[in-house]
Symmetry: C3
Subunit: 204 residues, 3 copies
């Protein structure tokens, strides 16, 4: 994996690890449970991406910092969670950042491996939502992606931007960070302002 991609990947792992650790602290897990949830949240989306693309063993198992970063984030949150929690709705913010960063690395790696536009977008969305879904299933919460807020749509928008950048031959680091920022902004604004998509109508 080339340089800018790995930086985005490690940044995504870090924020997802914080979100996983915070959710685990709220569920009153012990320190090792917090480390486990933080780690699988951090590496889940990337491992899914690498396995689906046949790039095994996945990056997360080949470079020790993929595991050291979540462990450090978990200990950080374990000790200072009251300070972290004081920020407004921190899990949504951290999860949104991870969603953006992993959407971008997933889509870009899928394009590099020769997938078409639809497949690359789908893999980008799976990479983006994977870690958070695993975190929520382990903690027996309804996955964020299924709650009534713009979530998969934000990720799909970012994935489409990456595909567009690739087609325009403009997919440099700035474009990728921009695409991740779009995902983040759409997701966090939707959560703050409670934007919601239409729900099914039931006859009286």
């Amino acid at each position: 994996m080339s340089h800018p991609l790995i930086e985005l990947d490690v940044a995504g792992s870090f924020v997802f690890a914080l979100s996983g650790a915070l959710a685990a602290v709220r569920a009153r897990l012990d320190v090792f449970g917090v480390v486990v949830v933080a780690t699988v949240t951090a590496i889940g989306g990337g491992v899914l991406r690498d396995v689906l693309l046949g790039l095994t063993p996945p990056n997360a198992l080949r470079h020790w910092w993929y595991l050291a970063v979540p462990a450090a984030a978990a200990v950080l949150v374990f000790v200072w969670h009251p300070q972290v929690t004081r920020m407004l709705r921190p899990i949504v913010v951290l999860d949104g950042a991870g969603l953006g960063l992993f959407t971008v690395t997933g889509t870009r790696l899928a394009l590099e491996q020769g997938l078409g536009a639809t497949g690359a977008c789908a893999l980008g969305v799976l990479t983006g939502i994977g870690g958070g879904v695993i975190r929520d299933v382990l903690l027996r919460e309804i996955p964020l992606v299924l709650r009534r807020e713009i979530y998969a749509l934000a990720s799909a928008a970012g994935a489409s931007l990456v595909v567009l950048g690739d087609r325009l031959d403009a997919l440099n680091l700035a474009w990728q960070v921009g695409a991740a920022a779009v995902v983040f902004a759409v997701r966090v604004l939707a959560a703050r302002r409670r934007w919601s998509a239409p729900t099914p109508r039931f006859p009286e």
Copy 2:
């Protein structure tokens, strides 16, 4: 993947997508949540099959119709769910059809990849039950496969028929559709007539 197999695969995706979308509508998810659940239900079993056989990237990411079909099914159900629901126990019927079709494609592809009879049956059952299990875990319901009705047995019967057809050198399209129909019939009859397998006995 050769021609008849891909047709059964897309048909299985379509019915599993309908079942996923209907379950998501009942859980009052928004339109994007319905699309996500429909898609992972539709492609889950096939992706699991391809990853376990080392055929990466999975078919579902290489052909856009694997993703377009579930999306279309999701929108269809989102708009017309009262009409779809009017049919008797539609999730069981659609799930049974998906179970049959994916059991057949999973078993056949495993045989083509050189697995033995036991391994091919096991992979067929995993392919058949995979999508539905993911749907039920995401929606926090008890997986259909674990409820007290004939489910895994129906899938195992169909997988055995595919292996038998292969050993007899008779595995044409008609045989495969027949095996899928057997799974469907056993499953739906069991659900309608509440056939059940023995449950454990507990001493007084």
Copy 3:
């Protein structure tokens, strides 16, 4: 996979199958549900290990005894569960044995495939906890790994011992069985004596 490894692997499948079957019996599943849960608990960790290392199709699908052993264990438990249950906290004991055996095979296979110390330990822990997590998610229980008892730590200790043995060029069968026994002993003692790791502190 060389000889001693496969023996540990089959032994691990057997004890995990017993733990899965017992949990399924307690959840009042029927006989086929018991076989399904026992089988995925037994092969889950090993399949995850093989897929992550790119060794597809996984061992569990290539050798029929990987599937026959869990099926036999499931039937055994289905019929004689009162006798099995009479042992003290049998799920914890069986789960601890499976945790130890799979931690060892996962770590060793990862080292053979060229992963570094950190990656091999992580893969060993994932292999160890994988089957039990799948069992608990399917039965909608809080995964054992997240409860307030030493679990992931026991597995990590065993994985480190395997890496140490490899570095000392002393990784024979006795060393591996010893490492599995350490995991088992730490895990079962922690559960019996209710040892617990620190939990997060919340300000008043």
